[in-house]
């Protein structure tokens, strides 16, 4: 897990991103306007928030396919509570708590029942989407207070509030992964589960935390998304599912577990959003965007798996 931030691989990533941004900036007139950039950053905030949790889950050799459902469900909970006149902080807390609990539940299923993570989270995602529909009576909710909308679209000291939130979470995630013993245990669990068990460290606690954290991240993302839109839609999670995984993969989080940087998931999210934005601006229909992201996802994971297999073959003793 060690390695300098500016190692060749990351430099190439940074270089490519910079080159792509410059090309896009030069060829698409609206691309480098302040308004557009702020817009992209706001959208990035959502994807990146989700991807911090997703990255951790992938690092422990899982995957979280429930984030799409949780984005809708948790926002719906807090939205409904807000409409009923509860204080905003309490509503947020309730939504985030629900996200954490749902994530925790996934963690328990994976740890105790040994159900594969992709199935568990797929199912939890479905339950969450279903509950969002039920709670909202099949409809979306809109017309929230100004304070709520401010969190979504306002700015403090010229910086959008969304940025503060995502900055807080990326810092938090970074501290967890790189400065605490829990972080080492998370990487260790992704590296070799048996070793962790032999050391007497509880794998259950690590998994519970990681999945719950992913749920919390999705909840925050969902609430922020609703604040930006000023509506809660029961199916607002939709594309974020794919984008969260893609952001992690673009950010170099290895699907085989044990490796990856949470803050690079932010870079991945940024790249992804700028890509989608550029595609939008050159007038490509949204239909093409999912297609391109899907191709990108398979391509990157394919290349990394291929290289991993080559390396494995080389490391044979003889």
């Amino acid at each position: 897990m060690k390695g300098k931030f500016l190692n060749p691989k990351n430099l190439i990533l940074v270089g490519l991103t910079a080159a792509a941004l410059t090309t896009a900036g030069l060829s698409i007139p609206q691309f480098l306007t302040m308004e557009n950039i702020l817009n992209v950053i706001r959208q990035t905030a959502i994807v990146s928030l989700v991807s911090y949790g997703s990255a951790m889950v992938i690092i422990v050799r899982g995957i979280d396919l429930s984030v799409g459902g949780l984005i809708a469900f948790c926002a719906m909970i807090s939205g409904i509570m807000m409409k009923s006149g509860y204080p905003m902080v309490l509503c947020f807390a309730a939504g985030i708590l629900c996200g954490g609990l749902m994530g925790l539940f996934s963690g328990v299923m994976v740890e105790k029942l040994e159900v594969p993570a992709f199935i568990t989270t797929l199912v939890i995602g479905q339950v969450a989407t279903g509950l969002a529909l039920v709670l909202g009576g099949g409809n979306s909710l809109g017309g929230f207070s100004d304070a709520y909308v401010f969190i979504g679209n306002g700015a403090l000291l010229g910086v959008p509030v969304s940025i503060y939130i995502t900055a807080f979470f990326v810092t938090l995630s970074y501290l967890i992964m790189n400065r605490t013993r829990l972080g080492v245990h998370i990487y260790a669990l992704g590296g070799n589960e048996q070793v962790v068990k032999n050391q007497g460290v509880s794998t259950a606690k690590i998994r519970y935390f990681v999945f719950a954290y992913s749920g919390v991240c999705a909840a925050v993302a969902g609430i922020l998304l609703s604040a930006q839109m000023n509506t809660v839609h029961p199916q607002q999670g939709g594309t974020y599912q794919l984008d969260a995984v893609a952001a992690c993969v673009i950010g170099g989080v290895n699907m085989a577990g044990g490796e990856g940087k949470v803050y690079l998931a932010l870079a991945g999210a940024l790249t992804l959003r700028f890509l989608r934005n550029a595609l939008n601006l050159i007038g490509l229909h949204p239909y093409y965007q999912n297609l391109i992201v899907g191709v990108l996802l398979i391509l990157i994971v394919g290349v990394s798996m291929y290289r991993r297999n080559k390396a494995l073959e080389k490391s044979l003793i003889f």
Binding site: R179, A188, G190, N192, V195, K197, N198, G200, G258, E259
Partner: protein, 502 residues
């Protein structure tokens, strides 16, 4: 005399199912009534053939699996560990046979895994400092910031030793610690062990290498087939006696050797390199011949077999089968052409454990038996019954799942699978591993019978007596290549084989 700090008495462990629940209904036990006592400041050798139960016993002591019956007393206190942390807290350190390190973490992180310094935030600087001190104290020149992935196997092993020592263990279990070390590294390890003894640490040492044992051991306990044989002082160590204890009363009728090699060449391997930098291998096998392959675990024997069988890449060389050069064949093509490979790892590679006996027996000959894809249950059952009778497999019937059979019967099911596929050349990789004495004799009889029918046999084995008594010729392997070919059965001795393996 030093005082006894560990007593394990009447330890019994049943086979267990996928969820760790012991299956008590069978008489199949992994360990049965085993004893072990370890004194302060001693190096206690634990010896026995593969599958004798050494590792299982140590896993019980290390808290990785619990025992079903018997008592464990550590420092006079009866204990029953249910997880490794408990045994660590009681001062038991474990250096595993498979490396017990996270390759993606660095050295210091591995050393402190589970015992990080600092409360909320871990104090990395302090951990690196202490790691460096510990490494230096034991004389290892390793940077604690290096990711373990980048270390050589020997260095990784050193990190393991440091880890066990650093946890202030009173008893350290070393499971074949020298398997991948060079002589200089082994000497260093022994120096460390002597140092530890002086500091009051006891060591349970598992190894196969006799010369090592004499150098380092104080007492020695022998296990055989999951049972306890005896404990002796190293002062009374006699080579023949210990070998006798390990293999048991060797029945003279255990080995059948009535086959005669014939002229026809079945397999010829020319210049096969199993690794990019290994010395090329040449070997031949004839009709009706049993060719043994000796050598230590890790000498490349399994890799050679898998390279021939087409499940592993090799790095140049040619394979001739019945005189025709063949290349790039898949297991399926080989099986259709009569070349088969009985793997060393029965449970993962040999059998589909949850499947029935008949399902496993016909698995390799499905295409031959049912060319029109339609399964005929009657045919299957008939073949399975035939094999059950022929190989004397003890079972309730052909529908019984193989994971409820004993090791010996499981191995006979694998043999049955290959026999029913009509082999012309059978590669056997440790055919009697983890099999009790009775079943061993049966397996030898089967091998001999096959050779008599003209089947060529290539037998990989770590058991020297098996190699000596069964083979017509022996190739000995070392470091990924054949180091010697022994042609004269009269000259096969344990010493002459060992001379080429080390």
């Amino acid at each position: 005399m030093e005082k006894t700090i560990l007593e394990m008495e009447h330890i019994t462990k049943y086979i267990y199912d996928a969820y760790g629940k012991p299956i008590r209904g069978t008489n199949v036990k992994i360990l049965s009534d085993v004893h072990l006592d370890v004194r302060e400041r001693e190096v206690h050798i634990l010896i026995g053939e593969n599958g004798a139960g050494k590792s299982t016993l140590m896993k019980i002591l290390g808290g990785i699996i619990p025992h079903d019956e018997g008592t464990v007393r550590l420092f006079g206190q009866e204990v029953r560990f249910t997880n490794p942390r408990q045994s660590q807290a009681m001062g038991v350190g474990f250096i595993h046979q498979e490396l017990d390190l996270c390759l993606n973490l660095d050295v210091a992180e591995n050393l402190f895994l589970g015992q990080e310094i600092g409360r909320l935030f871990s104090d990395k600087r302090e951990m690196y400092r202490q790691s460096r001190l510990m490494l230096e104290k034991l004389g290892f020149d390793i940077d604690p910031r290096t990711p373990v992935r980048r270390l050589s196997t020997a260095h990784q092993q050193m990190v393991e030793i440091v880890k066990a020592v650093s946890r202030e263990s009173k008893i350290i279990i070393m499971d074949e610690p020298t398997a991948s070390l060079t002589q200089a590294e082994i000497d260093h390890l022994f120096e460390i062990i002597r140092n530890l003894k002086r500091q009051g640490v006891s060591i349970v040492y598992i190894s196969h290498r006799f010369e090592e044992l004499k150098e380092i051991g104080d007492r020695l306990t022998v296990l055989r087939d999951g049972g306890y044989v005896g404990t002796i002082d190293m002062a009374d160590f006699e080579h023949g006696k210990v070998v006798g204890m390990m293999v048991g009363r060797e029945l003279s009728c255990m080995y059948h050797c009535s086959h005669r090699p014939e002229a026809g060449e079945v397999l010829r391997v020319e210049g096969l390199k199993i690794g990019p930098d290994t010395v090329p291998i040449d070997l031949t096998v004839h009709r009706g011949e049993v060719v043994g392959i000796g050598g230590l675990v890790g000498a490349g024997r399994t890799e050679l077999a898998k390279s021939i069988f087409g499940v592993r890449r090799y790095f140049g060389g040619r394979i001739f089968y019945h005189g025709r050069a063949v290349a790039g064949r898949t297991p399926q093509q080989w099986i259709d052409d009569g070349l088969m490979y009985l793997t060393e790892d029965r449970k993962i590679e040999g059998l589909v454990l949850p499947m029935s006996i008949e399902g496993n027996i016909t698995l390799a000959s499905l295409r031959r038996l049912f060319p029109y894809t339609r399964l005929k249950p009657r045919v299957e059952t008939a073949i399975a019954r035939e094999m059950i009778d022929k190989l004397r497999i003890v079972c309730r019937g052909p529908k019984q799942a193989v994971n409820t059979l004993s090791g010996g019967n499981q191995q006979e099911v694998v043999l049955g699978k290959w026999l029913s596929a009509k082999p012309r050349l059978l590669i056997l990789d440790e055919p009697t591993r983890g099999v009790d004495v009775g079943a061993k004799a049966e397996i030898y009889e089967i091998i001999d019978g096959l050779a008599r029918e003209g089947v060529a046999i290539l037998m990989i084995s770590s058991e020297l007596s098996e190699l000596i008594n069964m083979s017509d010729r022996i190739y000995v392997m070392r470091r990924g290549t054949v180091s010697a070919e022994m042609r004269d059965p009269a000259a096969f001795t344990q010493e002459s084989i060992l001379a080429h393996t080390l």
